[in-house]
Each structure stands twice: as C-alpha cells, then as structure tokens.
C-alpha cells in the first residue's frame, strides 16, 4: 500500500435547495478570498462553471480531430478499395467519384467524432462502468446542491465565518465529510 498515494481530503459542505443560493454563496465566499473546491448539483447550474473559474473544456477540439480522422479514414478506404485495389469499369464511369464518396465520408465523420468525443469525456472525467462514486450527499442527485470547501485550503479560524456566509445565503445544513483514497476529478 505504500505506493498508493494518500488522497484523503476533508471537506466543509454547505447544502442548499436552490441554485441561486449556491451562486450567491460562491460569489460571497470568493469575495472574501476563500476558494471553493467544487459544487455538486442535481442539474447543471448555468454560469456557475465560469464563477468557479473552470476553464472551457477542450473537448470541442477533440471532437474536431476525431471527426477529421473519420473523414480521412473513409476517403482513403474508399480510394484504396475502389481505385487501387479493385477498380470497376461500369459503363465507362470513373470507379472513384467524389460526389459518391460524400455520404459515407460524412457518416464516418459523425461516427468517429461522436464516439471519440464521448469516450474522451469519460476518460477526462474519470468515468467508467462500475466506478464507485464520491457521493458528498446522497440527495445531490435529487434536490440538494452541495458547496464543497477543502479544509486544508482554509484557516481553522475562518471556518465559523465561512459557515456564517453559507447560512446567510440560505444553506439549510452545514456538515463535514472525509473522503479517503479516491480518484478526484481535476
């Protein structure tokens, strides 16, 4: 077990019922100079990613590259099969014709882009079938939004102040949670 990196983290959790409360709370905490680790919510809260300072994901670039791979695969496959390996002369028509190559290249572009991007998403989000989830609160997938602050990132003395800020913005519950040796999403 010595090679296993200890990633135990302690969190201070503020729990909310409304997305607006979380947004205001995050803004207020950041205004006071505290850094917010993450927010866990049952649905995407629009604008919160920017407030938390999450950089725009580069998955779009990945999708483009996968799509281009698909186009090139389709075009080169058809060129090889229809022109080089086994050209067919049907009524003197060219054996490899660009317009006839459009549908298959389009379909393979979409296929490669879609699958490539989704699998990249699973990889960067460290998601795989059967992964044991880090559940901050079981109600996160129902109706509760959890604002998580890493305790090592704050001073012991500030904890009351942080709790006060979260309470004043509508937190209905404050709790702490320790998470052991889990893969954290970065």
């Amino acid at each position: 077990m010595s090679s296993y990196k200890d990633t135990t983290k302690n969190f201070l959790l503020g729990k909310f019922h409304k997305p607006g409360q979380v947004i205001n709370s995050v803004k207020a905490l950041q205004g006071e100079g505290f850094s917010v680790y993450d927010v866990y919510s049952p649905f995407p809260i629009h604008g919160l990613d920017r407030i938390l300072g999450i950089k725009r994901s580069r998955l779009t670039i990945a999708a483009f590259l996968f799509g281009m791979t698909g186009t090139c695969t389709a075009l080169s496959m058809m060129l090889y099969m229809m022109y080089f390996d086994w050209p067919m002369d049907i009524g003197g028509k060219p054996s490899y014709l660009a317009p006839a190559a459009v549908p298959v290249s389009f379909e393979l572009t979409v296929l490669f882009a879609a699958f490539g991007m989704v699998f990249t998403f699973f990889a960067v989000s460290k998601m795989y079938p059967g992964k044991k989830p880090v559940i901050m609160d079981p109600r996160v997938t129902d109706d509760v939004m959890v604002l998580a602050i890493e305790k090592s990132a704050i001073e012991e003395a500030d904890q009351d102040k942080i709790e006060g800020i979260m309470m004043s913005h509508g937190a209905f519950e404050i709790s702490e949670k320790t998470v052991h040796n889990e893969l954290f999403e970065v």
């Binding site: 019922h17 607006g20 409360q21 947004i23 205001n24 993450d38 927010v39 866990y40 049952p42 649905f43 995407p44 809260i45 629009h46 604008g47 990613d49 999450i54 725009r56 994901s57 779009t60 999708a63 799509g67 099969m81 229809m82 086994w86 067919m88 028509k93 014709l97 006839a100 190559a101 549908p103 298959v104 389009f106 379909e107 393979l108 979409v110 882009a113 879609a114 699958f115 991007m117 989704v118 998403f121 989000s125 998601m127 079938p129 059967g130 992964k131 044991k132 989830p133 559940i135 079981p138 109600r139 996160v140 997938t141 129902d142 109706d143 509760v144 509508g170 209905f172 999403e185 970065v186």
Partner: protein, 476 residues
C-alpha cells in the same frame, strides 16, 4: 438562464419542486409492476415471438414465402423499413435540433422520444437484413470486409451501401446520445435504490456520476456537440434512404424532390408516433404535470407543419410529373390515383394531408382522445405513403408486358405486426426500468418561485411556500 416570456405557460405545472420531479418520474420504477404492465408486456412479447417465428420461417423457406414477384421485388419489407426509419427520426429531432434551437419544452419528452428512435431503428434494420435471405453471409455484402474473391469490395457508389453506413451510424450515435443523457438520472436511481441488486446495476451504469460542476461543464459541451453532429446526421439518414429510390430511373422514384420530402415525412411520422406514445404514457404514469397540455399542443403544431409540407410535396410531385412532359412519369402518378392501388393512395392523402388539419383547432389539440386518434391516422397514412411510392411505382413501369400486381402473404403481414411486438416489448421494458422523463433537464425548468423547503424534504408536496424571489440572480 435563458429568458422566458412571462406570458408563456410554465413547462412544469402543479407547483412541482425538484424532489417532486424525482418522486413523480421514479415512482413507476420503484413499484412492483402492476397487472396492466404485465399484460401489455406479455402481449407485446407474444407478438414479437410470432414475428420472430415468421422470420425464421422466411429463412427456412426462402424469400418465396413472401408475395414478391419478378416485377415487384421490393414491397412490404422495404415499405416497413422506411416506415420504421421514419418513425425513428422524431427522437433525434427532439433531442438534437430542438436543443440547438433552445426549445426547452423538449426536455420532458426527449428521453422517451430517443428511446422510441432506438427501438424503431432496430425494427427498421431487421427488414433489409431479412430481405438478404441469408443475413449470416450478408456481412460480406454490406461491409468492406476482406474476402477470398479478390478482395472483391462492396460498391461505394451504391446508395444501398450508403444506407448501411447511414443507418448504422444513426443507430449507434443515437444510442450513445441516449445513454449519455441517462447517466445523471441513473445516478439518481442509484442513490435512492433500496434494493441491493438495483443499486449495483444502476451504480455500474451511472459510471460514478457525482454531479460535480466540473463534470457538468464538460457534460454540457459534449451534449451540445453531439446535438450539433446529430442534427445533420438525422437529415442525412432519410436523405440517403430517399436516394435508394431517387437515384434509380423507375417512374415515380426518379425525382429530385425526394430528400426533403422524405425528411419532412419522417419527422411527421415520428411526431405521430411520439404523440401516440405520450398520450398513453403521461396518462398511465400520471406525468401530466411534466408532459403538459402545452407540450402536446407544441407537438400537434409540428404535426400540422410537417403534414402540410408532405401535402405540398405530393402536389409538387404531381405537378412536376405533368410539367416534365415525360409519359412514363405522368402515367405513374395517374396510376397511383386511379390504378389498381387507388385505395392506398387515397388512404395516404386522407390520413396525411386531411386529418392532421384538424389540429388547427385548439380544442382538438387539447383533447387527448382526438390527438391519439389523429396520431394513429398519421401512423397509418405514413405507412401507406411508403407503400404507394414503392409498390405502385414498381407494379407498372415502362413495359406493360411486365406489369404485375402484388399481394402480401401472411408471412409478410405477420413479420410487420411482429415488429410492433419488438418495438413495444422494448418500450415497455424501457418504461419499467428507466426514467421515461429526463429528470435533470426538467429540473432546470423549475422556476425559482416554486417550492422552497427549508426543513425535511420527505413531504415537499404539501408545503408550497411560494417565495417572492423572481429569478435566480435575485434569490438570497
């Protein structure tokens, strides 16, 4: 948060909060199946078994078990193929195109519509496979696999081959899109499950989802790009299906209008089927607060639009046949109307062009029984449209000496009915084991002036403390 007009009716009614959505949608999953479900599922499974038996009989006996002849080589099976593929178009339209257009009413019907798409495409794909007669060697005919004859490759200049690529891409991308959309909801089921086996299965499928904002951020980008990819994809699929006919020289098929005409028809038939399914599902599952009358109203409007587009396409085809001055083309259309298959033509016109016009009346759009009946008419009409295009055009082409008539055998009719068994067996399983409404997307529609419960949340429904907060940014 997108701006929404205050006049617009809310998309979630009954003052439902987040927890009520979870409860409302998951209630049928967490209960034991009732007799109605078991009976409906049993019946579908029986019909499916009948269809599968007749497919096996076709393999045993050969395509001679069908009513095809030298003149009419495509009839019931290809009609059924196009019929089911068309139905499969509404799901992706709702999940992808309406997402790009920010039509948030799609949020509560997209899950079921996508499921419908996947099951419909499964039914569709069966027909070309069966029509091969020996599908176990068919892999060499439709996929570019190296073989001992050369290699003798598949013909990439053929629309039939494009169709193989289009349908298989459409099926797999729709499946991925659907599964991706399910992950957050599967996590909801996981976190509520009391049964150990259910927790393990839904847990494995939800891939460790924890609702982190970082994951949501990527998730939304992936969903948007997938929607952007699926939008041209859905249009390409029926375009390519129409190429199967339009690139030939058969009178009645050889028209440039086919791609947009087929796409409009596909969306029309798909929405017809979504209406059929939603009228029943919202009633049986008591989802009237999530799939509201305004949702049904919006779908009815799409049905009028696409139904009218299809009507214009019929008229255009007819006009162009006359205007072309081509005798064969002109005859093909006269033959459709007054030839031996006149009844199928007029069934198509009355079901597709005339009956949907009743949706102009708000009273009809809000009457679920009438909506259901009209949607059934749409389904029937769109089947006849494909039959008219395929069978009547082949029955009488250039050479009167080759003219023939086609009558389906019980095997073909049985296989077609069997695909409804396949479709509904899958749909009932879906409705029992997966949330039929996309919970997390519906939760984003809850206005901030709905239930705010600061205590326990076991009894949300009774405490409607409407707060005065108008929007997210003003809440405190």
């Amino acid at each position: 948060m997108s701006y929404e007009s205050p006049i617009r009716e809310p998309l979630v009614t009954g003052g439902k909060g987040y927890h009520d959505i979870t409860e409302g949608v998951l209630a049928p999953l967490e209960k034991k199946p009732n007799m109605t479900w078991l009976a409906a599922f049993g019946l579908s499974a029986m019909v499916m078994t009948m269809g599968v038996s007749l497919i096996i009989w076709t393999f045993f006996e050969g395509i001679g078990a069908w009513g095809l002849n030298k003149t009419i080589g495509w009839a019931f099976d290809i009609t059924n193929f196009v019929f089911w593929v068309g139905i499969g178009h509404a799901g992706t339209l709702i999940s992808a195109i309406l997402l790009l257009f920010r039509q948030t009413w799609r949020n509560s019907i997209n899950r079921a519509a996508e499921a419908m798409t996947i099951f419909a495409v499964i039914c569709a794909a069966l027909f070309p496979l069966i029509h091969m007669g020996r599908p176990w060697v068919g892999a060499f005919w439709v996929l570019p696999l190296p073989n001992t004859r050369g290699s003798l490759w598949v013909n990439f200049n053929s629309p039939l081959l494009w169709d193989v690529f289009a349908i298989s891409t459409y099926f797999s991308v729709s499946l991925v899109f659907w599964y991706l959309g399910l992950i957050p909801d599967l996590a909801s089921i996981r976190d509520r499950a009391k049964n150990k086996i259910a927790k393990a299965i839904y847990g494995a499928l939800s891939m460790g989802w924890n609702g982190s904002t970082r994951t949501w951020h990527r998730y939304e980008i992936v969903s948007l790009i997938l929607a952007g990819l699926a939008t041209p994809l859905v249009l390409s699929v029926h375009t390519i299906v129409s190429f199967d006919f339009a690139t030939s020289i058969v009178p009645g098929w050889h028209t440039t209008i086919f791609p947009p005409y087929f796409v409009a028809g596909a969306i029309f038939s798909g929405f017809g089927m979504v209406q059929t399914l939603m009228v029943v599902t919202r009633k049986v599952y008591k989802l009237e607060n999530f799939i509201t009358l305004s949702h049904m109203d919006a779908m009815a409007k799409i049905v009028i639009l696409t139904g009218s587009l299809v009507g214009i396409a019929y008229a255009t085809e007819f006009f162009i046949a006359w205007y072309s001055g081509n005798t064969y083309e002109q005859y093909a259309f006269i033959n459709r109307m007054f030839g031996p298959y006149w009844w199928s033509y007029w069934a198509m016109i009355s079901c597709n062009v005339i009956t949907p016009q009743l949706f102009w009346f708000k009273k009809v759009r809000e009457n679920m029984l009438l909506t259901f009946i009209i949607s059934i008419f749409v389904n029937i009409g769109m089947w006849f449209e494909r039959f008219v295009i395929i069978a009547t055009s082949l029955a009488r082409d250039f050479m009167p000496a080759n003219w023939a008539l086609y009558t389906p055998t019980y095997v073909e009719v049985g296989i077609f009915i069997g695909t409804f068994g396949v479709f509904f067996t899958f749909f009932f399983l879906f409705a029992k084991f997966l949330p039929v409404v996309n919970m997390f997307e519906v939760k984003t529609l809850v206005k901030d002036d709905t239930v705010v419960d600061h205590g326990h949340h076991d009894d949300h429904g009774d405490q409607h403390s409407h707060s005065a907060e108008a929007g997210v940014s003003h809440s405190h």
